[in-house]
């Protein structure tokens, strides 16, 4: 931990850090590239829609049936008159998918299958879906997605500001596009479980973004009262200082999902657990990426267009140029915290306390920066 901890500390202080905002063009480029690939993948390959979207039946036999995959396929095709896809699952049971059959014919097919495989018909699991079921789920999902986006944009616009809301929305769309794109490119089957997973990403992707925004909002509160940093600088620092947290969050979120994926894929072979966790896994990863590389830089971009921020940038640049001309490096100094927690104060503190009211104004002003320095009282901050 100590290593990570100290990196965290240095990130926190801004000693190390990656210039996310400065290099945003690269990341925008990468994201656009991925998005285009995803859209191309969607357009060209399309999604591999599961049986739920075409209508049909999925039968799962009990474990360890003696029937082989090929003969099961034959039986199923005989019984239904349709093509059947048979998979052997991890636990030895067979998963038989027959597309395009009606829900009311399924019982007959099930009985026939049971007969041919010499198992009890009651021990076969059947999942029958009408052709519109999947569409209905997808429709509802779209509807949910739409409503959620509108609500969340309104909420973020109130809690933060519209630029952040917009950036969060872009990041969200970005995540969903990438996830569906990966599904198209890899050819994973899309099931209602996938849709559930995808919808969960909504909450998660924003969760991460919101935390970064929260720190950003906090740090830029008095931005116009100082001339040392532009909005982008501070945005960058917010990302860096919440980086450890972002990584931790993502790891902690991915761990249980990984557990699900492992069990869903390895133990059960297929099914809902697997579907949900797979799309979650992909989506979470995309979400973590976008909140760091896309959302915040985007806010910075939007913010820098504000006249106020433009003016600030001008001032900052002018000041930097001046400093450079004077040959003194702009030493990034800690702005005074300027007030103490009572518990924190060393017992020796006797000096005048800063008045709380003066805090905000005093703190970020250069004139106040040296206040308290070298005070014999030891009052440092």
């Amino acid at each position: 931990m100590s290593k990570i901890g100290s990196i965290g500390a240095r990130l926190h202080r801004g000693e190390v850090g990656y210039d996310f905002v400065g290099n945003r063009k690269i990341w925008y480029g990468i994201s656009i590239l991925i998005t285009i690939t995803a859209i191309l993948g969607l357009a060209v390959r399309g999604l591999n829609m599961g049986i739920e979207f075409q209508g049909g039946a999925v039968f799962t036999t009990p474990k360890h049936v003696s029937t082989s995959v090929t003969s099961a396929e034959e039986y199923a095709e005989d019984a239904s008159g349709h093509d059947a896809i048979v998979q052997k699952l991890g636990d030895g049971s067979l998963r038989i998918q027959i597309a395009g059959i009606d829900t009311d014919k399924s019982d007959a097919i099930k009985d026939k299958l049971a007969q041919e495989m010499k198992v009890d018909s009651e021990s076969i699991n059947a999942d029958l879906v009408g052709p519109s079921w999947g569409d209905q789920i997808a429709d509802k999902a779209w509807q949910g997605l739409g409503i959620f986006m509108v609500l969340v944009v309104i909420y973020l616009a109130i809690a933060f500001e519209w630029r952040m809301a917009l950036a969060a929305l872009v990041a969200l769309i970005h995540d969903i596009t990438i996830t569906t794109g990966i599904y198209a490119l890899v050819g994973f089957e899309v099931t209602p479980g996938t849709v559930i997973g995808l919808l969960t990403i909504l909450g998660y992707s924003l969760y991460d973004t919101v935390v970064v925004f929260d720190s950003l909002k906090e740090q830029t509160k008095d931005i116009t009262k100082q001339t040392r940093w532009t909005y982008s600088d501070i945005a960058n620092r917010s990302i860096n200082s919440t980086l450890v947290r972002s990584i931790n969050t993502t790891v902690v979120a991915l761990l249980p999902v990984a557990g699900l994926l492992f069990i869903g894929g390895g133990f059960l072979g297929a099914g809902m657990l697997n579907d949900i966790s797979l799309s979650l896994f992909v989506g979470l990863a995309a979400g973590a990426y976008s909140s760091i590389f896309i959302a915040t830089p985007l806010v910075a971009d939007l913010k820098e267009r504000e006249p106020q921020m433009k003016a600030l940038k001008k001032r900052v640049l002018a000041k930097r140029a001046q400093a450079a001309a004077q040959g003194t490096q702009v030493q990034p100094e800690t702005v005074d915290e300027s007030y103490d927690e009572p518990e924190d104060a060393a017992p020796a503190v006797v000096g005048p306390r800063n008045q709380p009211a003066s805090r905000t104004t005093a703190r970020n002003q250069p004139s106040s920066r040296n206040r308290g320095r070298g005070r014999p009282s030891g009052k440092r901050r």
Partner: protein
């Protein structure tokens, strides 16, 4: 930043035991409640417990798209509930989901095939003339009213009734009052004004006196007799089959419950009017005649004529043959008697209805008129074996997920895990207990996606601690000692946690409202755990942190406490006076 109470931190922080005590009491109370209610495990959904789950989608008749509305769907659910649970299994549950779906869950061990047929086919509602009736089963068996035998001479159909009556009178003591009570309801013209002269109606009626009944052969009549005699409507299994599948054109036997909740058996004539003839039925409170709750029916044009015919016939008869039975799926749901021919195209059934009864009957009457049909959208049959396996897999996945998270927290936060892990546990216990309690109260059933949701929620819960811990560490890096760091970090972390949990909750709520089926279960768990996360962080994690911050182990920044200022790279106090190089920030502004 949402004002961290500067200066002396708020009073809440100084009394950390209070919220801790509160949450512990809540846990004990909830757990106690769980054990007291006897529902020690969450109710399992079909995919975990095994059974059949059917999703039906309402399809409106063309041009009547507005028919898919809440009232109609509720009516349909009522009817289906009756039908499925009439099979002799009462655990089947029928509920609406979203605005056009109905979910029917049939637990394992039930004849799912039959149940599927029941919900899949449209319910049949008929108006049949009553030929004979008596209270069925039990010691206090009542004969049909004395008038039954006297009226036997009236019609050709009454051969059946006659015999029936004979038999029953011989076998049981006559209690004339039985009919009186069962006949408490009368059909009258809803609109007295447009009552046409009954003479014409009755003349028609008498001329066409029960054609089908008279044509029924002796053979089938006697069979019906035998059936009727043997019929014991108090037995559920008997009821489930009695009168089911009878052709509308045949006479049949049926069971029904009278207003005294006694089961009554009937011989019924051929159906004269069916459910589709009813245009509309509704329960109204009749203030004019002081009849209390009544049910009014509007008939379609064709229905009105048929109804006028049948009532005209019936009005001339003696009890019970002046009654008609409203038969839904072979079960008599009401058996009002007719005072006069009703030709106005509408009718009113009056009697000592409660509001509920009246509405129930109105619902059933309107069902036949519902311009809806239902299509099976998905049918999932899960054997108990697979259900158990999936549950097992879900639990293992959860355990692995939890273990991984705990391990990560241990490595990364060391001593702080003393806070994080119990917080996770509290969260887990609360989730489990509340899920168990929600089973019986709101019918929550834990299904596979819900298990998934719970597992995913581990991440969300752990994330709140991470936000808080990282904040504390930041404060320590600023050079604060632990206790002030905790108090300063909290308001900021609190806001972050609230904002992000709100977004998460919003997603869950939208999903829950908009979606159907499995997605809903998932959304519900996610929402629940998000709320619990906030509760746990506020009432458990934070107070615990405050308390432990007083311990030397944490306060001194022990190497294993996870809060070692040195390891965290806190600014050593000395450096500050000199400020060699300078970190930044307007941060914490």
């Amino acid at each position: 930043m949402a004002a961290p109470k500067r200066g002396r931190s708020g009073s809440a922080q100084s009394k950390p035991w209070r919220p801790l005590g509160f949450i512990l009491i809540a846990i004990v109370a909830l757990t106690g409640g769980m054990f007291a209610s006897g529902h020690n495990t969450p109710r399992l959904g079909i995919d975990l417990a095994g059974g059949t789950s059917i999703t039906l989608r309402a399809v409106a008749e063309p041009g009547q798209e507005s028919a898919i509305n809440k009232t109609n769907m509720d009516t349909a659910v009522d009817i289906m509930n009756r039908r499925v649970n009439g099979l002799g299994v009462s655990e089947a549950e029928v509920q609406t989901q979203g605005n056009k779906n109905i979910i029917v869950n049939i637990p394992k061990g039930t004849n799912s095939k039959e149940a599927r047929q029941q919900v899949g086919t449209t319910a049949k509602l008929y108006f049949r003339p009553v030929l004979a009736t008596e209270v069925s089963g039990g010691a206090a068996t009542a004969t049909p009213s004395p008038s039954a035998s006297s009226s036997a001479s009236d019609k050709a159909t009454d051969k059946a009734t006659d015999k029936a009556t004979d038999k029953s009178t011989s076998s049981s003591s006559a209690t004339p009052s039985a009919t009186a009570t069962s006949q408490g309801r009368a059909v009258t013209d809803a609109l007295k004004a447009d009552a046409t002269p009954s003479a014409s109606a009755s003349s028609k009626a008498s001329s066409s006196a029960s054609p089908s009944a008279s044509s029924s052969s002796d053979d089938s009549t006697s069979k019906l007799q035998a059936q009727y005699a043997a019929l014991d409507c108090t037995k559920k299994s008997v009821r489930a089959t009695a009168g089911k599948g009878a052709k509308p054109t045949d006479s049949t036997v049926a069971c029904g419950q009278n207003s005294q909740k006694q089961w009554q058996k009937y011989i019924l004539g051929p159906a004269e009017v069916d459910g589709t003839d009813v245009k509309k039925a509704q329960a109204v409170f009749n203030t004019q005649t002081a009849a209390g709750w009544t049910v009014t029916m509007d008939f379609t044009g064709k229905g009105a004529k048929k109804f006028a015919d049948i009532t005209g016939k019936l009005a001339q008869n003696q009890s019970p043959q002046n009654q008609f039975a409203i038969v839904l799926d072979g079960e008599v749901v009401s058996d009002p008697y007719v005072k006069q021919a009703l030709t106005g195209g509408n009718a009113e059934i009056s009697g000592s209805f409660t509001q509920e009864e009246a509405q129930g009957l109105a619902n059933m009457l309107s069902y036949g008129a519902l311009p809806l049909s239902f299509k099976e959208d998905s049918v999932t049959t899960v054997t108990a074996a697979l259900g158990g396996e999936q549950l097992h897999a879900g639990l293992i996945a959860g355990a692995i997920g939890l273990a991984l998270v705990v391990l990560y927290l241990l490595v990364f936060y060391r001593g702080l895990s003393v806070i994080a892990i119990p917080s996770l546990m509290v969260s887990a216990i609360l989730t489990y207990v509340i899920m168990s309690l929600l089973g019986p109260t709101i019918g929550f059933a834990l299904n596979l996606p819900a298990v998934c949701g719970a597992i995913v929620a581990i991440g969300i819960t752990a994330d709140s601690f991470i936000v808080f811990f990282e904040r504390i560490r930041d404060e320590i890096r600023e050079g604060r000692s632990l206790r002030p760091a905790v108090e300063r970090a909290w308001p900021r972390a609190r806001r972050t946690i609230l904002v992000s949990d709100f977004v998460s909750f919003l997603a869950a709520a939208v999903l829950f409202i908009v979606t159907v089926g499995k997605v809903q279960g998932f959304a519900f768990t996610l929402g629940l755990t998000t709320v619990l996360d906030v509760v746990v962080v506020f009432l458990f994690t934070k107070p615990l942190m405050t308390i432990l911050a007083r311990r030397k182990f944490f306060a001194s920044g022990h190497k294993w406490s996870g809060l070692d200022p040195k390891a965290l790279g806190a600014k050593p106090p000395l450096r500050r006076t000199r400020r060699p190089h300078a970190p930044v920030d307007p941060k914490e502004a």
